[in-house]
Symmetry: C2
Subunit: 196 residues, 2 copies
């Protein structure tokens, strides 16, 4: 195999979820059928590495010092929603139910993977939440073991500093049939039941 | 989302098998955890697009006019093995059972996808096989419907020009248990049975 092709296959393996076979398939596909796409991807990667940094306020990816969301005057500055990733933030934005600001951890606590409080920028979060304007922090980390542990850790930390902290509601998903929902979820929905 | 990030996500979708969610995950991963990998991939793509072309003899990817395999003096020039892709060629090389040369179609006949004889360089193959040195053409296209049809088409074409054409043997895979091998394969193995 030619050297450029070997180098390309090796580089494609740096993408998450791409093994040796997929990397080879991708390299062959780009060179045989989509050289324009390959050139475009090359440019996009170079440009992103060059331009993308972290918002000084919410820690998400941005090309400016402060991201568009944090700069948006119409947002409610008394609410701060903590999410694990920019993808989670996008999902919440799509619901159109939240008009406050965000803080993006860019990860979750995971002692087994050696990811501690410093790796998810908790000092920055504490400083951000104590700006004197934020009145409530909404924890929207995932409902996985690690996400729950992260939420618990942040909750204790912020409550100790006198902040109001809430967590997304757990319960039966919309459209969920009880027969097919797991028992843990139903148990939680029963405990958290609401007056109608 | 920032413009560079949107452009990167869009560009990653040009990779085969990568949908919108994976593309986003890849972009976030590279920017958060592996900027070096992103820069490396950018360079590798640019370099490959620039340098990689097709071997004038066997049609595979190479950076020279003629690839290393075709240039290899120790190879048997009387044998020409026809494969669909460079990946297939690599698999055959790994078996260490073949010492002839190759012709890489870079595809297969697939009328439903609009891929005809011209798209898989059959004129080039005919010219190559008629160099006066090649004595046998081994068809090693896949044993899928399209691969079989391609082999059949090439076989007719080359035999009409007086060349000897063979096909990889079909049969029960090494380590295969009859109970778990499909009936079509066993039927073929029965028809093609060999004296021991």
């Amino acid at each position: 195999m030619s050297k450029s092709l070997e180098f390309l296959t090796e580089a494609l393996r740096r993408l998450p979820g791409v093994g040796p076979k997929s990397a080879q398939r991708m390299a062959f596909h780009l060179l045989q059928h989509d050289r324009e796409g390959a050139a475009m991807l090359s440019r996009a990667l170079g440009q992103a590495v060059e331009a993308v940094q972290h918002c000084v306020l919410c820690n998400t990816f941005t090309e400016e010092e402060v991201c568009d969301t944090c700069n948006d005057e119409r947002r409610d500055r008394r609410l701060l929603c903590v999410v694990e990733t920019p993808a989670d933030q996008l999902m919440i934005e799509q619901t159109l139910t939240y008009k406050g600001l965000y803080f993006v951890l860019m990860g979750r606590l995971s002692p087994l993977d050696g990811i501690g409080p410093k790796d998810i920028h908790l000092e920055k979060l504490v400083a951000r939440a104590n700006d004197g304007v934020v009145g409530e922090v909404v924890l929207a980390t995932n409902f996985t073991n690690e996400g729950e542990a992260t939420a618990h850790y942040i909750s204790e930390m912020l409550k100790a500093r006198g902040l109001r902290v809430s967590r997304l509601a757990r319960g039966v998903p919309v459209g969920g049939e009880l027969e097919y929902v797991d028992a843990g979820t139903i148990a939680r929905a029963m405990l958290d039941r609401r007056a109608t």
